[in-house]
C-alpha cells in the first residue's frame, strides 16, 4: 500500500530536493516510511502532506528502528517538531530531520542542531544541568554503567574548563560550534540513514 501511494508531485519533489540535502530516492523512501507510520485512514498522499491533518505522534516516530536505540530520540523529535505542543512530526519536519542527519549536510547545520538537541531545557545555552543529563544519557540507564556523583562533577568541571571560553559557566552555541568544528569524526557519526 505504501509503494503505490508514495508518489509526490514533481514540483514538490524538486522543491524538497532544493531545500534538503537528500536525493530523490531518499525523499521518496522517507515519504514511504512516513506514510507507513500514519494511521491507516489517512494513508494517502494529499493527507500526508498537509501538516495540519497528519502528524505522526512522537511515540510512533520513536518506534523506527533508526531511532529506537538512540538515547536522544525524544530530544531529536522535539527539536524538529513544528507542532505547538512539540509532540508530533509532520512530513516536512521529518524531511528536515533526515536532511540534517544526512551525509551531505554541512558541519555547520549539523552542529547547530546538535546544540539544540543537547540543550535539554531549551534555554539557548548548555548549563551544568544539561551537561549532567547529557552524561547520564550517554552512559545508559543501567546502574553499573552510571557515573558516581564525584566522577560526574569532575567530568563536567573538565568539560567546562575546555570549552567554556568566556567563563560564564555555560556553553553557548558559538563555543559549542568552535569545539565541534575541531572534532575529526563528528560529521561522520552525526548521521541517521533510513
Amino acid at each position: 500500500m505504501g509503494s503505490s501511494t508514495s508518489q509526490l508531485s514533481k514540483e514538490l519533489l524538486s522543491e524538497y530536493q532544493e531545500l534538503t540535502f537528500l536525493t530523490k530516492q531518499e525523499i521518496l523512501l522517507a515519504h514511504k516510511t512516513f506514510i507507513e507510520l500514519l494511521p491507516p485512514e489517512s494513508q494517502n498522499v494529499v493527507d500526508s502532506l498537509t501538516a495540519q491533518v497528519s502528524r505522526v505522534p512522537t511515540e510512533k516516530v520513536l518506534t523506527l528502528p533508526e531511532l529506537k536505540a538512540n538515547p536522544f530520540k525524544d530530544r531529536i523529535c522535539r527539536v524538529f517538531s513544528t507542532a505547538p505542543e512539540k509532540d508530533s512530526l509532520s512530513f516536512e519536519d521529518f524531511l528536515d530531520l533526515l536532511s540534517v542527519f544526512s551525509d551531505a549536510a554541512t558541519p555547520d547545520i549539523k552542529s547547530h542542531y546538535a546544540f539544540r538537541i543537547f540543550d535539554f531545557d531549551d534555554d539557548g545555552t548548555l548549563n551544568k544541568e544539561d551537561l549532567k543529563q547529557l552524561v547520564n544519557r550517554l552512559t545508559g540507564t543501567e546502574e553499573d554503567t552510571q557515573l558516581s556523583p564525584s566522577e560526574m562533577n569532575q567530568l563536567i568541571q573538565n568539560i567546562l574548563e575546555e570549552s567554556d571560553i568566556d567563563r560564564d559557566g555555560t556553553i553557548n552555541l558559538s563555543e559549542f560550534q568552535h569545539v565541534i568544528s575541531r572534532s575529526p569524526d563528528f560529521t561522520s557519526s552525526f548521521k541517521i540513514v533510513l
Binding site: L19, Q25, K68, T139, T145, Q154, R182, V193
Partner: protein, 867 residues
Amino acid sequence: MSGFPIPEHEASWCHPCPFLSCTDLVEGKKTFRKPIPKSDTIPSKQQALSNRKKRTHDCRKEEKEEGSREIKIKALHQKKDVRRKHREMFGEDEWNKAEKSSNGKRKRERKASNKEQKEAKNKEKQIRKKKEKHLKKYSSSPSVSNSSDEESISEEEMARIMEQVEEKKKIIATIRNKPWPMMKKLEVLREAQAFVEKFEGALGKGKGKKFYAYKMMMNKKWIKFKRDFDNFKTQCIPWEMKIKEIESHFGSSVASYFIFLRWMYGVNLVLFGLIFGLVIIPEVLMGMPYGSIPRKTVPRAEEEKAMDFSVLWDFEGYIKYSALFYGYYNNQRTIGWLKYRLPMAYFMVGVSVFGYSLMVVIRSMASNAQESTGEGNGDNFTFSFKMFTSWDYLIGNPETADNKYASITTSFKESIVDEQESNKEENIHLTRFLRVLANFLIICCLCGSGYLIYFVVKRSQEFSKMQNVSWYERNEVEIVMSLLGMFCPPLFETIAALENYHPRIGLKWQLGRIFALFLGNLYTFLLALMDDVHLKLSNEEAIKNITHWTLFNYYNASMWNESVTRPPLHPADVPRGSCWETTVGIEFVRLTVSDILVTFITILLGDFLRACFVRFMNYCWCWDLEAGFPSYSEFDISGNVLGLIFNQGMIWMGSFYAPGLVGINVLRLLTSMYFQCWAVMSSNVPHERVFKASKSNNFYMGLLLLVLFLSLLPVAYTIMSLTPSFDCGPFSGKNRMYDVIPETIENDFPTFVGKIFAYIANPGLIIPAILLMALAIYYLNSVSKGLARANIQLRKKIQAVSRMGIPSWRVQEWIHSFSKQICFMSPDGLGIITILASIYIVTRLANYMLSHNKTVRQELLLFPFYR
C-alpha cells in the same frame, strides 16, 4: 557598502524600502519618479542623524537603515503587495524572537541589512538622477556624480535587477544550509524562484535578450540534468542498503570495511575492463587460434592429462595454454585486420594498471586528508569530544547501543583517571622487560615464518623436478603460507597481552606486526621464486639449441625428396622452454585461489559453525556458552582489511604475467561481499569496544599505497632487467620487454619522433629533469610549510578574537566575501592571496572590534601583527 560618502541631506532619500516586491521593480520607474512626500522623510533624517552620532563609522549604515525602515514602510504603505511582504518580514521577526539562539538571528539580520544596503546603493543613484532632472532645488547639492549617471535608466535598472536576481539565486543555492523549519524554507524558496523566473527573461536587451533567455533556460536544464544524474549515480552505487544495515547493527567501524571492499571492487572492475578490453578480447578474437603454434598448444607429453580436473585445478593443462596467461600471446607485431599492435598494447596495459591504481589510491588519500585538515589540534578538547561527539547516531541495534554505553562510560572513567593520575607509573621496569620480551618473541616468530617459507619454496622446486608428486607436495607453499597467515596473528595477539598497552596503541602495534608478517612472507616467496626464474633463464640457451636442432633435423631429413614440401611439424611436438613468466603467473593465481579458499573456510568454520554450536548446544550444556567461553565471534576489522590489501598486492604483482588474475579477483570480491555480509549478520556480534572508523581510513589507504609500491618493485625489476623467454609471450625474441616501445616508435612513427625520443632518453636530459623535479618538490614543500605556519598563526588570532565574543561565522563570512573578489587562482598566487587574506581579515576584525569594544582594543594590541 557604498564606497563614496553620502551627502547629508540625501540620507533620507537613499534608504529604500527593503521590502520592495517584484512588481515594484518592474514598475520601478513609475514608483520612484513620484517624489515621496517630504513630510515623511523629515523625521527619518533626524533619526538617522541622531543615530549616526551615537555610532561609529562602520555600523553607521546598518543603523540608519534600521531607523529608516519604519518610515519607508509608511511611505509605501499603499501598495498592496508590499503589505504582503511586510507581513512576512514581521513574521520573520517574530520567529526570530522565538528562536533561542542569538546566532541565527544576527545572521539573518545581517543578511537583511546587506540586502538593504545594496538596494540603498542602487536606489540612491536612481533617485539622485531623478533629482537632477526634476527637482531643481537640489541641483546645487554636492552630488557624487560619476559616469554612470549619464547611462540610460533602463540599463541601470537592468543592472539592479540582475543583481537582485543573482542574490535570489544565491538564496536558492544556500537555503538548505539555513536552520529553519521546512515551511519557512519553502516559502522563501518559492518567492525567490518566482522572482528569478519573472526577471530572468527580462534581462538582456535587443538581440542579446533572446540569447540571454536561451542561456538561462539551458542553464536551468543543465542544473536539472546534473541533479538527475546525481540521483542516478546514487542509485547505481551497489550494496548501499546492505552496508546501511550492517552500519546500524555494528556501528561505522565494521561498515568501513565493507565500504573499503566496495571501493576495491570498483577499482578492480576498472582494471578488469582495461585488461580484458585491450588484451584478452583482441587476442581471442583476432589472434591465432589455439593449436596453431607451439606456444598455443599443450605439449604432447601433457596431452593425456590436460583435461583432468586435478591438473586444471593446479592451473596446468589447457588452462596454462590459454589467454589467461602470459605465455599464450604471440610476438606478432600486429594482429587481425585492425592491425592491432598486441605486444605494444600488452605492455601499455601492464604499465597503466599500475598507473591507474596509483592515481586512484593517491586521489582518495588526498580527498581523505582534505576532509580532516580542519580538525587542527584535538588534544585540547578530549573531554568535550567524548561528551559531544562520541555517540554514533547510526547505531540502531539495542545490543550495539548497550555496548556503546559501556564503552563510553569506560572511556569517561578512563579519562578521568588519566587526568588524575597521569604522572603515576607503576613498576616501570617490569613493564619494560615484558615489552622487550614480547618484541623479541615476535621477531623470532617473524624470522621463523620467513625461513619456513623459504625452505618450503626451495623444496617445492625439488618437487617440481620429480614426477609423481602428491597433492600436498604440489600445494605445500600455498598451504604453509595460508596457515601462517591464519595462526600467526592470534599468536601475536597473545604475546601482545604481555605488553599491557592501551588498546588503541595495541591495535596499531598489532596491525604493524601482521603487516610485517605478510610482507616478509610475500617477499621471501618472491625471492625464492626469483631464484627459480634465474635457474630457468640459465637453462634457456640449451633448450633454444635443442629446439633449433629438432626443427632443423626435421626439415632436412633425407628421406623426403625435395619436390614435395614436408608438412610442418605438429606444434605439440616442438620442444620448448619452460616459460618462466607463465610459471610466475601460475604461482600468483594459485596463491590467490588458495587465499580465497582459506578465507571462506575460516569464515565458515570459525564464525558460522561456532555460532551454530554456541546457539544450539547452549540448551544442553553445563555453562552458559553465549556469555561464557566460546561465545560468538567478533568481526575482525583489521585482519580483514589487511587481508584485502595483501590480496590486492598479489593481484598487482601477478596481473602482468597472468592477465586473467584480475578477473578471478573481481569474482572473489563479488562473492566475498555477499558471503561476508551474510556471515557478519548471521554469526558475529558487535564489538565489545565499539570504536569509530573515520580516523583509520587514511591509515589503511597508506598501507595500500605501500603495498602497491612494493608490488611495483618486482614487476618493474623483471620488466627492466630480465630477458623474456624466447618462445612464449608477446615479447619473445626481444632482449628486454620494454624494447617494444622503441620498436613501435621506429616503425610506426615518423623518424623525427624517434629522434626526439632518443634525445629525451639521453641521460644528459634525464638527470637535469630529475633535479628540476626534486627542486620543485622542495620548493612546493617549503611553500606549503610556510602556508601551514601562517594558517596556524591565523587560527590562533581567530581563536583569540573569538574569545572576545565574535562568533566564528562572522569571520568565515569575511573570508568568504574576500575570496569572492579573487579571480585568479594559481598555486603560487594562492600563497600570496592567503597571506593577503590574513592581513585583510585581521584588519577587518580589528576595525570591527575597535568600533565596538574598548577593552578589546587593549587585548588586540597584544598582536604584533596589527600593531
